[in-house]
């Protein structure tokens, strides 16, 4: 899931076609849930005029953590509501996806290989200690290529 590094207010700026009264900053708040997080952008007091229908507008938020895997993220849902929370528009489920997430590349410092007997030709037990870069979901898998 895409989520903010921590819940609460995040830096949020209008990019196109949002008539902000002063500057570009908007009121954006992340609420963390158990299966999904919710980003709420409140425009009350920020706009000098309405945004007309069929207008493509955009904004950006900072401090978002990348997805936890390279799997395509298709769980985005967009909704606009009135100030009292009544639904105006909503996206079709699964119609928005985020792709092209690259796996993290660690360094040699992320893995240490030790042996109970490092002597040449000795039969030994190798211990490979790997320090993860990202959180791991339960039942993750790992492939280690062991040099000959």
């Amino acid at each position: 899931m895409a989520t903010s590094t921590s819940p609460g207010s995040v830096a949020c700026d209008a990019i196109t076609n949002i008539p902000v009264t002063t500057g570009t900053q908007l009121d954006c708040v992340f609420a963390h849930g158990t299966t999904q997080d919710k980003l709420t952008v409140s425009f009350a007091g920020y706009l000098s005029s309405n945004i007309a229908s069929d207008t493509l507008f955009s904004f950006k938020i900072k401090g978002v953590r990348g997805p936890p895997s390279t799997n395509a993220m298709t769980g985005f849902n967009f909704r606009t509501t009135s100030q009292t929370g009544d639904l105006i528009d909503q996206s079709v489920s699964g119609s928005v996806a985020l792709y092209a997430v690259f796996p993290a590349q660690g360094t040699a410092a992320n893995m240490i290989v030790t042996s109970d007997d490092p002597s040449i030709n000795a039969p030994s037990t190798l211990t490979m200690r790997i320090q993860t870069i990202n959180p791991l979901q339960p039942e993750s898998n790992i492939i280690v290529t062991i040099p000959s």
Binding site: T70, N71, Q131
Partner: protein, 127 residues
């Protein structure tokens, strides 16, 4: 192959492909792990390299439960064996007379490890 730590499956399903040298460990962690956690994989009955040259790099990739790659390292992780020794070593001079010229020395040794056909002996002789 086993693991260490309460967060990991102590005896996960694993396989080793000798041709590709790939050790695959499935469902290695029992619980959600935050970032910067340590995974310990213990592999028994390994024969160490026959010389002290560092190995090629170990390579690893971690995948989520749906087998989407998350992270990995592809270079710089090596293992280096320690040099062995000699079960027996001696130096003998055919003539021990002081300052005698053209004396024949005999070097004898019984190395603990395999001495390959292309190996080299280097002996430092005190002056």
């Amino acid at each position: 192959m086993t693991t260490l730590g309460n967060s990991l499956e102590p005896n996960p399903t694993w396989s080793f492909d000798a041709a590709t040298r790939k050790l695959t460990v499935q469902k290695i962690n029992k619980v959600y792990l935050t970032n910067r956690e340590y995974l310990y994989i213990v592999l028994a009955k390994v024969t160490n390299p026959g010389q002290t040259e560092p190995t090629d790099s170990f390579v690893y990739e971690i995948y989520d439960p749906l087998n989407n790659v998350i992270e990995g390292v592809s270079q710089g992780i090596t293992f280096e064996s320690l040099a062995g020794g000699f079960a027996f070593i001696s130096v003998a001079a055919a003539d021990t007379l002081i300052n005698k010229r053209d004396v024949e020395y005999t070097f004898s040794m019984r190395p603990q490890d395999v001495f390959t056909s292309a190996a080299i002996i280097k002996i430092t002789c005190p002056t």
